[in-house]
């Protein structure tokens, strides 16, 4: 068994676009749930809108890639509005179901053949990279004409791959900074207050609805950016944006700590590192007959273990990596 290789393959996930994308979305969820108490179970919907907004802008309308990103974010804001105006008055747990349903509706609308001309229905969209790659500031080939490989150790990327990561990390850094900045401001205080008791905050003269809406939008935009980063190096396929995606984002959020700034980032790294590690190690064990099972069962075992690992982490560190243990004494 080549542990070095397994380590390398696992380390890859620290800087993968998926990790960055999930971290962005989880940061959005931290704003919505961790700080604002909004049980948004529709994060996949926001991500889908970001990704599709980006892809459709480029493919159908021929707009530049950065306009695509703006369109994706705008779509998320509009979705937040449509979703928020009627539902933010609902009790928290009702909100959860409504958002889950709304995200599923988004996915189904993207899947149906009704809008095939824009969405390519179930097949999804791809091949929109030219603009983004054109903006790549890192030279692709060196003087000798050979492609340049950037990075070191387990992290080696072509210039396009590097560009996706750099761009993603910049977005993530901005998002994290914003969250950090606004959550220590009076704005954040109001939001946290709303999480605890809306009526009390209302009685103190704060426009609760407006704050919730702002949180939903900010979180939604981060989610959409996550969707964009997820789509940047690959494609957008509607079946990606299932409720499982939302669940994974939630898990990531709680792994890191719900009302924390860096929690989502660390949670995302943990999540993908677990995924990557198990994917590398299990088949090897199965092949070496250490695990008495077929390759297919080993692959399946990965998800069993991912599930169990998530449970265990939440059970044994319920406040998350960065969470405050003190808070736990008082959770309802």
């Amino acid at each position: 068994m080549d542990w070095g290789q397994i380590f390398n393959n696992t380390a890859y996930w620290v800087f993968s676009p998926e990790t960055i994308a999930y971290a962005l979305a989880a940061t959005g969820l931290a704003v919505q749930f961790g700080f604002g108490g909004l049980l948004n179970f529709g994060m996949a919907g926001f991500m889908a809108l970001g990704a599709y907004g980006y892809a459709i802008s480029i493919l159908t309308f021929g707009w530049p890639w950065w306009v695509g990103i703006i369109v994706g974010c705008a779509a998320a804001v509009v979705f937040a509005l449509i979703l928020g105006i009627p539902t933010l008055r609902l009790r928290a747990d009702y909100l959860a179901i409504v958002t889950i349903a709304a995200a599923e509706i988004v996915r189904l609308l993207l899947t149906t053949q009704l809008f095939d001309a824009f969405t390519n229905s179930a097949d999804g969209l791809g091949g929109y990279h030219a603009g983004f790659r054109g903006a790549n500031p890192f030279p692709k080939t060196g003087a000798d004409g050979e492609p340049i490989i950037y990075g070191f150790g387990p992290w080696q990327w072509t210039s396009d791959q590097l560009w996706v990561r750099v761009f993603g990390i910049i977005l993530l850094a901005i998002a994290v900074y914003l969250v950090w900045a606004i959550m220590r401001s009076p704005w954040g205080r109001v939001l946290k207050g709303i999480r605890e008791d809306e009526d009390a905050v209302r009685s103190l003269g704060k426009n609760v609805f407006s704050y919730k809406m702002q949180a939903l939008m900010i979180g939604g935009v981060f989610g959409a950016l996550g969707g964009v980063v997820f789509a940047l190096p690959s494609a957008v396929v509607p079946a990606t944006y299932t409720t499982s995606l939302t669940f994974f984002i939630w898990t990531i959020l709680l792994l890191g700590g719900a009302a924390t700034v860096f929690g989502p980032v660390v949670g995302s790294v943990i999540f993908w590192v677990i995924m990557g590690f198990l994917d590398n190690v299990l088949p090897v064990l199965a092949q070496a007959d250490i695990l008495p099972m077929t390759g297919q069962q080993a692959a399946t075992l990965r998800f069993i273990l991912v599930g169990v690992a998530l449970m265990l982490i939440v059970i044994f560190r319920p406040q998350g990596i960065f969470g405050n243990k003190r808070e736990l004494t008082f959770v309802k």
């Binding site: 009702y94 179901i97 349903a101 297919q296 998800f303 939440v314 319920p318």
Partner: protein, 438 residues
């Protein structure tokens, strides 16, 4: 075009009789000609009856042949090459007064200028081109809208009832512990898989399998509670944390099923029984009837339990305030355990019914309805078991009838959108009640 594309379906070579002079219809269409890689064929009917003895002629590229339709109205004409041809129907050989009506020609085929029954025909990618002529006024009997609606309402009722079994469980768990149990779908799958193991693999008769499944379901509930949920309560985990645990459990559970039964679909004994019991437009199989019967009986039993027993009330007390419930002498852990056992047993049986309804047992069959179950529970008002029942019926019926109006690949959109709309009108759900403030 150097034909890079394609090839023919026909690969069988018979020693065919040479020369095709058609006066008599061949037994098999085209049996009177030499087989080649390319042929035209078709059928001619008039008022839904095959027309025999119609002469068909093909001509093009210097080749010409004809044939006559057989008893089934079928004909086939082989041609040597992929080329453009003209196909002619000898209208004289059609029944008296019948002509080739341009209205009834296949899409994209029009008579040649100046004729009524000669057409340009070409091949597509394959070596066969079929030209069917369905002449006369064929009257098609389709199911009327009203009948369709009735039938679907019945289906929806059946579906709704089995959803209700699961939804009541979800609602009870939510009502007692505040937990949205995202692993409930797997508890359904568990029931179905157990039915598969006992009913199919171990060949236990179904009347015995069902009770076994219920017992195993209850056991699952017991084990989950003692092994997982109760320790979590002890540790004082927040409700969202527990919810994430249930998500992890759902993932693990789902893949455990896939680990053991793979990705395929299996059938339980009796699945696909004919729907031969009819009431007007509704036709049901005995499985459907048994399924609805089981659901109704179980739901009544649960309702009685909730209304009449103090444990039922205790569940609500615990959901309000577990500390105070304990202070009232309620053994909170015990009641919660009962709820889990009950919910898991109901879910297991719902899983079996779901396996008959779909039909089929599959590793992820449970998650597929999870959202519908949650929609039902929410629709009815979170934590109210009777609300869950009503919600489930609404969701079940909506899913079944909505595609009468919307595209079928959006069939869940209807139910989910309805959920949102209803919640907007009644934010506390159908049977839910508002809280007082201050």
């Amino acid at each position: 075009m150097l034909f890079g594309l394609l090839l023919a379906a026909g690969m069988v070579f018979l020693s065919a009789p040479g020369g095709a002079l058609a006066a008599e219809a061949p037994d098999t269409p085209g049996g009177d000609q030499e087989k080649t890689d390319f042929y035209f064929g078709g059928i001619i009917t008039y008022d839904d009856k095959p027309v025999e003895g119609v002469t068909m002629t093909i001509e093009g590229g210097g080749f010409k042949a004809d044939t006559v339709t057989n008893v089934e109205g079928k004909w086939r004409l082989y041609v040597p090459d992929n080329d453009d041809y003209v196909l002619t129907v000898d209208e004289d050989t059609l029944p008296d007064g019948v002509i080739v009506d341009p209205e009834q020609l296949p899409e994209g085929i029009t008579p040649k200028q100046g004729t009524t029954a000669s057409f340009d025909v070409t091949f597509g990618l394959t070596g066969a081109k079929i030209v069917n002529l369905f002449l006369g006024e064929g009257e098609r009997v389709t199911t009327s809208f009203a009948d369709q609606l009735t039938e679907r309402l019945m289906n929806g009722l059946n579906f709704g009832l089995l959803l209700a079994l699961a939804a009541v469980g979800v609602s009870l768990i939510f009502g007692t512990t505040g937990l949205s149990n995202f692993a409930h779908g797997e508890m359904l799958t568990f029931g179905a898989v157990m039915a598969l193991i006992f009913g199919v693999w171990l060949k236990v008769p179904m009347w015995l399998t069902i009770p076994i499944v219920i017992v195993l379901g209850a056991l699952l509930g017991y084990l989950l509670d003692t092994g997982l949920w109760r320790p979590l309560r002890r540790r004082g985990l927040g409700i969202v944390q527990v919810m994430i645990v249930s998500i992890g459990l759902s993932l693990a559970g789902r893949y455990v099923f896939q680990y053991f039964i793979g990705g395929g679909t299996y059938q339980l004994p009796g699945a696909g029984a004919p729907r031969d019991i009819t009431f007007g437009p509704i036709s049901l199989s005995w499985i459907d009837i048994a399924s609805m019967g089981v659901s109704i009986v179980l739901l009544i039993a649960v309702a009685f339990w909730l209304l009449r027993t103090r444990v039922g009330k205790a569940t609500r007390a615990i959901s309000d305030n577990p500390g105070l419930a304990a202070a009232s002498g309620i053994n909170v852990d015990r009641v919660i355990r009962i709820v889990w056992i009950l919910a898991a047993a109901l879910a297991a049986i719902a899983g079996v019914l779901w396996a008959y309804f779909r039909p089929g047992v599959k590793w992820d069959m449970g998650v597929q309805v999870l959202l519908l179950i949650f929609a039902a529970v929410t629709l009815g008002g979170l934590g109210t078991a009777f609300g869950a029942l009503i919600g489930a019926l609404i969701v079940g019926i909506l899913v079944e009838i909505s595609t009468l109006w919307i595209p079928p690949d959006m069939k869940y959109v209807g139910a989910l959108a309805a959920l949102i709309v209803i919640l907007l009108v009644r934010p506390q759900g159908i049977l839910g009640r508002k809280e007082r403030l201050g």
